[in-house]
Symmetry: C2
């Protein structure tokens, strides 16, 4: 693995996955590689950090199931959920969305050997699914949002997995598209799993997903993630929600891996969610929109460059590089100490589709995005 | 899963694993079930919690690899390590020891289908190993500490896994026993894996394990865990250390699951380790010894009850119940709101061996241990 943070040139071809590209960037102030939130805390959020010692004292005193229930409610209501499972085993708190993903994958592999997965998407999803022995079938976004998955393809798998909003495209499965997909999964007894890690950024995804899923009667799983939204130094919760009829040993596999998450992190998530509900979320949306505008403005007029998802509100931005290859641009950017992600590996079933695309993270200080945007402009004009 | 915390009687026979017994106890102030540290913070530790906001500010400013290296060094030197891997991919920081275990298990399963595992031990270890498809061979403690594993048995597996100090017995693999085992693993090209989660409690385990392993030339893995030692509200690090020649895709599987742990947790671990090195660890050893003495004194003279591991210094105590069954005693204790662990499931290859044994956690406030000891005495005298 190329965890080399000293700036030596590691041939990108040797890097096995996107996370390994992200390791390279960890030491740089111009790390626009990973999708974790790394902007500065707002004044309201700094006040919550200052409360940590008292949140700790409170967390010690109170029953953990109460602390957990409050955090869940505050976070999910912020995202437009009115209803959600209120039994612990149907809403399992994990250290991260990837741990939730691992538990889901291990559980699913006991009941089926095949899964249909949105294409493109972040590569640790296909990697975890393959890692437990599942065979993957890609489904393209236009199919999901349009005509739908043909019957024979749907019948050939045990599960359909959709990242919504998708990473890196930002595309959101609308309420009506989710309703149609859930109905067809119910009809064919296929589990429907959503990874909604980026939903906090897009109000189009702030509808009651669980209500739609429940109404369909399908067997469903949803992975929620507090980790992309706030710069909480990797303190986060991944929630693994599921229907009563899901038929997967999620709680059993969960109990192999953890007894529970930190009540301090749960309390902190509750306070960040409360602060967000009181105006912080709208501020965050404006902040990301401003960073997106900065990037787009600086690339304006650069020949042969475009933004293929103009309406994306996710905290990452995808750039079509025209005739330039992503690895060339990535390498040139690195000379400016700017780190981005070349997109081959998002296109897990057909990497060449991503070979002329770059992903940049927007959940960064405005000054970093500005510096990176200028560097990218000069690199693109030169190449 | 029986997460019922309302006190209803759930038939223990329905509980699939020890963690599920531990869930039942989470709501009780007399939870002596799980091995997590739940004693009160010491004054020195409270001062560290009060520093969290400034540790947060510092963690934001400093390169994460520096924060990580300092935490590693402070923790491992506290436990008697003089040398340890200093390349990140050979000392991977995980959310917990169980996440490290899952990464190890998934990596190992790519290269072998069989593993020899110490018997008894905490059941999430065999469960995780079985969960990735490995076939398990038990090895009894007296064999490990005495004559050693016969050649034909050693040759039949891809890995030997030892928990040291063991949970629940507290037995420590001595330097010389480790040296012999490592030499034989090297000879037969078998990976040697240690889970040293409880080593902080026993100075007999504070020798340089990595030096012994390296000197043998064997392929080795060690799982370290800060989570059993200090009452840090489940904020902890599990480290996954390995030899250069290990030949397992640990870093690759790691990168499927996480980009990194929280620098705030790393900074906190460093400060707890520094405080421990300055006297806190000796205080902790005295605290556990006092709780152990309380328990033993209160059970003195109870007919047919004994402590099978009199020299254990682990933060858990094992009690032989004579003719009483562990489930009967567990059920009677529960009427006093006291939660312990019946030991069948530790004996993963032969549960009946644990059916008359109970494990009690000692990393609890002294008053809880006292109340639980009195309740246990009255239950044992009645039954």
């Amino acid at each position: 693995m190329a965890m080399n943070q000293t700036g030596e040139v590691t041939a990108p071809a040797e890097l096995g996955n996107l996370t390994q590209f992200e390791y390279l960037a960890l030491g740089s102030p111009l790390n626009l590689a990973d999708g974790h939130a790394r902007q500065e805390l707002t004044p309201g959020q700094i006040r919550i950090v200052d409360e940590l010692p008292s949140l700790w004292a409170e967390s010690v005193k109170r029953p953990v199931e109460e602390v957990e229930a409050e955090a869940r409610r505050a976070y999910l209501e912020l995202l437009g959920q009115r209803r959600f499972p209120d039994v612990p085993e149907r809403l399992l708190s994990c250290y991260s969305s990837s741990v939730a993903m691992e538990i889901f994958a291990r559980s699913l592999a006991r009941t089926t050997d095949s899964i249909m997965l949105v294409h493109p998407t972040f590569d640790n999803i296909p990697d975890i699914l393959r890692g437990v022995g599942l065979r993957l079938e890609p489904v393209e976004e236009p199919v999901l949002h349009g005509a739908g998955i043909p019957d024979d393809r749907l019948r050939s798998v045990g599960c359909v997995f959709v990242t919504t909003p998708n990473n890196p495209t930002g595309r959101v499965l609308s309420r009506s598209a989710l309703r149609r997909l859930a109905a067809r999964c119910a009809e064919h007894d296929v589990v429907l799993t959503l990874d909604t890690s980026f939903r906090g950024f897009d109000t189009d995804a702030h509808y009651d997903h669980y209500e739609v899923l429940e109404a369909s009667g399908c067997r469903w799983v949803v992975i929620e993630d507090t980790g992309k939204l706030w710069p909480t130094l990797e303190l986060k919760i991944g929630w693994l929600a599921s229907s009563e009829n899901v038929g997967l040993p999620l709680a059993e596999v969960y109990s192999d891996i953890l007894l529970g998450v930190s009540p301090l992190v749960l309390s902190m998530v509750r306070r960040f969610a409360e602060e967000a509900a009181g105006g912080g979320l709208a501020d965050l949306h404006r902040f990301i929109a401003t960073n997106r505008a900065t990037l787009r403005e600086h690339l304006e007029g650069v020949p042969d460059v475009r933004f293929p998802y103009p309406s994306s509100r996710a905290s990452v931005e995808l750039i079509d590089l025209g005739q330039r290859t992503a690895l060339d641009v990535w390498t040139a950017l690195r000379r400016h100490n700017v780190y981005a992600l070349p997109c081959e590996k998002f296109h897990w079933a057909n990497p060449v589709e991503g070979s002329r695309r770059l992903r940049l993270a927007l959940s960064r200080p405005a000054s970093s995005v500005l510096t990176a945007a200028k560097a990218l402009r000069s690199v693109l004009l030169a190449g």
